[in-house]
C-alpha cells in the first residue's frame, strides 16, 4: 500500500463510497444509519487504515455494517430506535425494484451476505470476515437465500 495519508484515504473512500453506501442501504434498509455507519468507518480508516487498499470496498462494508449494527443496538438500548419512514426514498426505491422485493424476504444477515456476494462481489472469505460468520455459513446462507428468493419470486409471479 502506498504511504498512507489523509488525502490518500479520502480518495480511496470517495471512490468506494457509492457502491458501499448502496450495499449498506440494501443490507440495512436504513439510509441514515447506513450513512452514519460509513462516516464512522471513514473515521476508523483515519485512525487505523486498512492494510490493503485493493479491497477498500470490502473493508468499508465490514466496518460500516459493524458500526451500523452497533448504532442499532445503542438505539435499542436508549429506546431511540426510529422506524424507517414510509416515504424514505431508499425504501421506496427498494420496494419498487425487483431486488428490493427479493431482499425483503430475507433476514438481516441473509441480506448482508447476499448483497456482499451479488452486489459487491466479495469472496466468501471476505464476506465471512465482514459479517462475522464462518466461511461455510456464507456459502450455506447464500444457498438458503437464493431458495427463499426463488420461492418468493414464484409466489409473486
Amino acid at each position: 500500500m502506498p504511504e498512507f495519508t489523509v488525502k490518500r484515504w479520502e480518495q480511496l473512500y470517495d471512490r468506494a463510497f457509492p457502491q458501499v453506501y448502496r450495499a449498506v442501504v440494501a443490507a440495512t434498509l436504513d439510509r441514515e444509519r447506513a450513512l452514519d455507519g460509513l462516516h464512522d468507518a471513514f473515521e476508523e480508516g483515519l485512525r487505523h487504515p486498512p492494510s490493503d487498499d485493493r479491497n477498500v470496498e470490502g473493508w468499508l462494508y465490514r466496518v460500516a455494517l459493524r458500526k451500523t449494527r452497533r448504532g442499532l443496538l445503542r438505539a435499542l438500548r436508549e429506546g431511540s430506535l426510529r422506524e424507517v419512514p414510509a416515504d424514505d426514498p431508499s425504501a421506496a426505491v427498494l420496494q419498487r425494484l425487483e431486488v428490493g422485493r427479493l431482499l425483503a424476504l430475507l433476514t438481516k444477515r441473509q441480506r448482508a451476505i447476499v448483497v456482499a456476494h451479488y452486489y459487491l462481489g466479495l469472496s466468501q472469505q471476505e464476506i465471512a470476515e465482514a459479517v462475522g460468520v464462518r466461511r461455510g455459513t456464507v456459502s450455506a446462507t447464500v444457498s438458503q437465500s437464493l431458495a427463499r428468493m426463488r420461492k418468493g419470486e414464484a409466489e409473486h409471479a
Binding site: 453506501y21 448502496r22 442501504v25 471513514f42 426514498p89 431508499s90 426505491v93 448483497v115
Partner: protein
C-alpha cells in the same frame, strides 16, 4: 459463475445502482467539533498536568533545601530531630572562635505560640563570625494550624539537636521555613529563656510578672565532643521594643 448467478449479479447491480446517493458534501463527516464539555475537560487535564509538574518541582526543591534532613513524622510525640550540620566555615579571628577538635552538639526544646510548631530551621551562629554557622531543619509538629486550639501537643516537647558543631561560642535561634507573614521574627535562646521560662513556665510554676523582660541572646559554649543541652529555642519575643532579633542567615 453460473448463468443464474450472473443474472442475479446483473439484477442487483442494475437495481441497487438506482439507490440515490446523498449529496457529495455528506459523504464524509466533517471533523468532529469539540464539545464544550470536552474542551473544558481538556483544559482541566492540562491544568492538572501542569499542577502535577509544579508539585513535583516544589517537592524536589524542598528536598534539596532540606539537605541531609532525616525524615521525621510531624507527630507531636516525636521529640527529637537530629540532622547533620551545614557548616559554613570562614576564617575566624576573635575568641572564642570555633576551634579544631572533636565536634560537639547543641540540643534543646522548641516551642511556638500556638498548638503546633511550624517547620523551623534552627541555627547555631558563631559569636565571633556570623558566617560560621550550623543548622538543622525540623518538621512541623502538632495539629493543623487551622484547627481550633484545644490543648498543648501531647507527649514530650518537640526538640532539636544540631550535631557536628565545631567547638566555640554560638548564638542559637530558629526561623520558620514556611511562608508566613512575620516569619522573619525568630525564636531565640535568650536571657528570658534562661531566667524565666526554664525555671518557671509550666502549669505548676507560671512565670512571675516580676521576671525581667530581657530577650538578649545568650552565648552557648560548645566544648570538644560535648553535647550542650537545654538550649531551648522558645523565646519568640525578641521583636519587643528594647530587644533585637538576629537576622536570618543567608
Amino acid at each position: 459463475m453460473r448463468d443464474q448467478d450472473r443474472d442475479l449479479v446483473h439484477l442487483f447491480v442494475r437495481d441497487l445502482d438506482e439507490i440515490e446517493l446523498p449529496p457529495r458534501d455528506r459523504w464524509r463527516v466533517a471533523a468532529r467539533k469539540e464539545s464544550l464539555v470536552m474542551k473544558a475537560s481538556r483544559y482541566v487535564l492540562y491544568a492538572t498536568a501542569i499542577a502535577a509538574v509544579l508539585v513535583v518541582a516544589l517537592i524536589a526543591s524542598f528536598a534539596l533545601r532540606a539537605g541531609n534532613q532525616v525524615a521525621a513524622s510531624p507527630s507531636p510525640t516525636i521529640a527529637a530531630v537530629t540532622t547533620s550540620p551545614t557548616p559554613t566555615p570562614t576564617a575566624a579571628t576573635a575568641s572564642p572562635t570555633p576551634t579544631a577538635g572533636p565536634a560537639g552538639a547543641i540540643t534543646g526544646a522548641l516551642s511556638y505560640p500556638s498548638e503546633f510548631i511550624p517547620p523551623l530551621t534552627v541555627f547555631a551562629v558563631s559569636v565571633a563570625d556570623q558566617h560560621v554557622l550550623f543548622s538543622v531543619d525540623t518538621p512541623r509538629f502538632g495539629a493543623d494550624p487551622s484547627a481550633q486550639p484545644t490543648a498543648a501537643p501531647p507527649g514530650p516537647r518537640p526538640s532539636y539537636t544540631i550535631t557536628g558543631v565545631t567547638p566555640g561560642a554560638y548564638y542559637v535561634f530558629a526561623f520558620r521555613r514556611d511562608t508566613f507573614i512575620g516569619n522573619d521574627i525568630p525564636a531565640v535562646y535568650s536571657r528570658f529563656v534562661v531566667d524565666c521560662m526554664q525555671p518557671y513556665g509550666d502549669a505548676q510554676k507560671p512565670i512571675p510578672s516580676s521576671c525581667p523582660n530581657d530577650h538578649t541572646l545568650v552565648q552557648v559554649i560548645v566544648r570538644p565532643g560535648e553535647t550542650v543541652s537545654r538550649i531551648d529555642v522558645t523565646d519568640w519575643n525578641c521583636s519587643l521594643p528594647g530587644s533585637t532579633c538576629p537576622p536570618r542567615p543567608r
